[in-house]
C-alpha cells in the first residue's frame, strides 16, 4: 500500500525575477512584469513591487496570490504602527516585521521570495533578502526568483568585494553611483530574459533616495 499523494497543490509558481542593489544614499529595486503559470503567460504587465512605507519597498517573486496576501498583511500592520508611533516604519523595522510575518506561517508558508530595499534611518541604502519562511540577512545586493541563478553570479562578479577581510559585510554598500546601478540592473535583466523563459516583457525599476521614490520602465524580450 503506497502512500497517497495529493492530487491538488495549494501553491503555484508565477515566475519572474527580482533584484535589489543598495548604494551609499539610494536603493534600486527592480522586477520584471511577466506573470506566468506553467508554460503560459497570464499577463505581461503585473507589478511585483510594493511600497510598504515611505522609504521601504519590497519586490517578491513566487506565488503572486500569497505575495498579495503578504503585502496586505504588512500594509495593515504598518497602519497600526503609524497610529501607535505617529511615524512611518523604518526599513530595518519593516525587515524584522516581514521576517516575523513569514515565520508566523512556518507550517503553511507564504510561497513568496522577497527582497526588501530602502533607506535606513541615516539615509543609507539597505537591502534585505529572505527565504520563504523568514530567514533574512542585510546585504549590499540580492536577487530572487526564477532568474536568480543567472543574475546572482553576475552581480557577485560586479559588486562583491574580493575578500571579506577588506570590506566587512555590514558596510556592504556598493561604490556605484545611482545611474550606474540602474544600468547594471538593466543589463542583468536583459541577460536573464535571454535564457530564463519566465523572465521578460518589461522591467519595473523603483529608485528610493532622499528626494523620494521614483519609477522607471524598460522593455525586455517578449518571447
Amino acid at each position: 500500500m503506497t502512500k497517497q499523494q495529493a492530487n491538488w497543490s495549494p501553491y503555484d509558481n508565477n515566475g519572474g525575477s527580482c533584484v535589489a542593489i543598495a548604494g551609499a544614499d539610494y536603493c534600486v529595486i527592480a522586477a520584471d512584469t511577466r506573470m506566468s503559470t506553467g508554460y503560459n503567460i497570464l499577463t505581461r504587465e503585473y507589478s511585483k513591487i510594493c511600497k510598504l512605507a515611505d522609504k521601504c519597498v519590497m519586490a517578491s517573486s513566487g506565488f503572486q496570490a500569497d505575495v498579495k496576501a503578504l503585502q496586505k498583511q504588512l500594509a495593515a500592520r504598518h497602519l497600526i504602527y503609524q497610529h501607535q508611533h505617529n511615524k512611518q516604519m523604518s526599513c530595518p523595522a519593516m525587515a524584522q516585521l516581514l521576517s516575523n510575518t513569514l515565520y508566523y506561517k512556518r507550517f503553511f508558508p507564504y510561497y513568496s521570495f522577497n527582497v526588501l530595499g530602502g533607506l535606513d534611518n541615516e539615509g543609507k541604502g539597505c537591502v534585505f533578502t529572505y527565504d520563504a519562511v523568514g530567514s533574512y540577512e542585510k546585504v549590499g545586493y540580492s536577487s530572487q526568483g526564477s532568474g536568480s541563478t543567472l543574475i546572482t553570479p553576475f552581480l557577485d562578479n560586479q559588486l562583491k568585494s574580493p575578500s571579506p577581510l577588506l570590506l566587512s559585510v555590514q558596510d556592504a554598500v556598493t561604490p556605484l553611483v545611482e545611474a550606474e546601478a540602474i544600468d547594471l540592473v538593466k543589463t542583468v535583466f536583459a541577460s536573464a530574459s535571454e535564457r530564463d523563459i519566465y523572465t521578460g516583457d518589461k522591467i519595473e525599476i523603483v529608485v528610493v533616495n532622499a528626494t523620494g521614490i521614483r519609477r522607471e520602465y524598460m522593455e525586455l524580450r517578449k518571447d
Binding site: 496586505k72 495593515a76 497602519l79 497600526i80 497610529h83
Partner: protein, 269 residues
C-alpha cells in the same frame, strides 16, 4: 431619594425604570473638558479644549485619527476613549483588508454603540465613561455622530460635549443652519468660535485647543499650531466686538448641572 439604593451595579433597575450607573457614566462625560464638532456637506471639523493638570504637565490627547476618512474627539475618561479609538482603528483596518474600501461611518458608530451597550448589561463590567464625537466621510456624504456611554448614538449637524459645552451648543444652535454650505475655512472659524465660548473669558490660543479636519479630498488630520494660531488671529479682531454676548452664556451653563435631578432620564434625549 432612592437613588443610592439602586445604583450599586449596572444591572439593577431603579423603580422609575432608570439605570443609575449608566447615568453616572454620562456624568463623567460632562466632567471632561469640552469637545465640539460641526459639519458642512463636504467637511467636518472637530475641536477640543486642552486642559493640562498643571503647568508642568502636558495635556491629554483627545482627538484621534481612526482612518483617513474618520476621526474622533472624546470627552470624559480619556483612557476609555483611547481604548475605544484602538477598537475603531482595528475595525477600519479589518474592513479595508477584506473589502478594499473604507468602512462607512454609519456602520462604525453602530458597532461602537453595540459595544457600549454590552457594558450596560453585564454585572461584571462598567459602562465606558467617555462620549465620542465621530466625524467621518463616506459615499453618502459628511457625517458627525455622538456616541454615549448608554449605547445610544445620534447624528448631528453640530454638537458639543464636556464641561461648559452648553455655551458652545448655544453658539452652534444660532449658526448651524448656515453650516451645510459653509466653506472649509469658515467651518474651522466657527469651530474656534465655539471652543472660545466654552473658555468663558479666557483668551483663545492655539496652545490650549486642538482642531482637526476631514473632508472631500482631505484625509483626517490635526491642524498644526501655527495654522490654528493664524486662524485665531484672523478673527480675533472680529471677536472683540462680540464680547458682550459671552455674559448670557454664563447663565445658560448653570442649567447644565440641574437636569439630572429631574424625572426625565438623560438617555432619552
Amino acid at each position: 431619594m432612592f437613588r443610592n439604593q439602586y445604583d450599586t451595579d449596572v444591572t439593577t433597575w431603579s423603580p422609575a425604570g432608570r439605570l443609575f450607573q449608566v447615568e453616572y457614566a454620562m456624568e463623567a462625560v460632562k466632567q471632561g473638558s469640552a469637545a465640539i464638532g460641526l459639519r458642512s456637506k463636504t467637511h467636518i471639523v472637530l475641536g477640543c479644549v486642552n486642559k493640562a493638570n498643571s503647568e508642568l504637565s502636558s495635556h491629554q490627547k483627545k482627538i484621534f485619527k481612526v482612518d483617513d476618512h474618520i476621526g474622533v474627539a472624546i470627552a470624559g475618561l480619556t483612557a476609555d476613549g483611547r481604548v475605544l479609538s484602538r477598537y475603531m482603528r482595528n475595525e477600519c483596518i479589518n474592513y479595508s483588508f477584506t473589502y478594499e474600501s473604507p468602512l462607512p461611518v454609519g456602520r462604525l458608530v453602530v458597532q461602537l454603540a453595540d459595544k457600549a451597550q454590552v457594558c450596560t448589561q453585564r454585572s461584571w463590567k462598567r459602562p465606558y465613561g467617555v462620549g465620542l464625537l465621530v466625524a467621518g466621510l463616506d459615499e453618502s456624504g459628511a457625517h458627525l455622530y455622538y456616541n454615549c456611554p448608554s449605547g445610544n448614538y445620534f447624528e448631528y449637524q453640530a454638537f458639543a460635549i464636556g464641561s461648559r459645552s452648553q455655551a458652545a451648543k448655544t453658539y452652534l444652535e444660532r449658526r448651524f443652519e448656515n453650516f451645510a454650505d459653509s466653506s472649509r475655512d469658515d467651518l474651522v472659524k466657527d469651530a474656534l468660535m465655539a471652543i472660545r465660548e466654552t473658555l468663558q473669558g479666557e483668551t483663545l490660543k492655539s496652545s490650549i485647543c486642538t482642531v482637526a479636519v476631514v473632508g472631500v479630498g482631505e484625509p483626517f488630520h490635526i491642524l498644526d499650531l501655527e495654522t490654528v494660531q493664524q486662524m485665531i488671529d484672523a478673527f480675533e479682531i472680529v471677536g472683540e466686538q462680540e464680547g458682550p454676548a459671552a455674559e448670557p452664556d454664563a447663565a445658560a451653563a448653570a442649567d447644565q448641572g440641574g437636569s439630572t435631578e429631574e424625572g426625565v432620564a438623560p438617555m432619552d434625549i
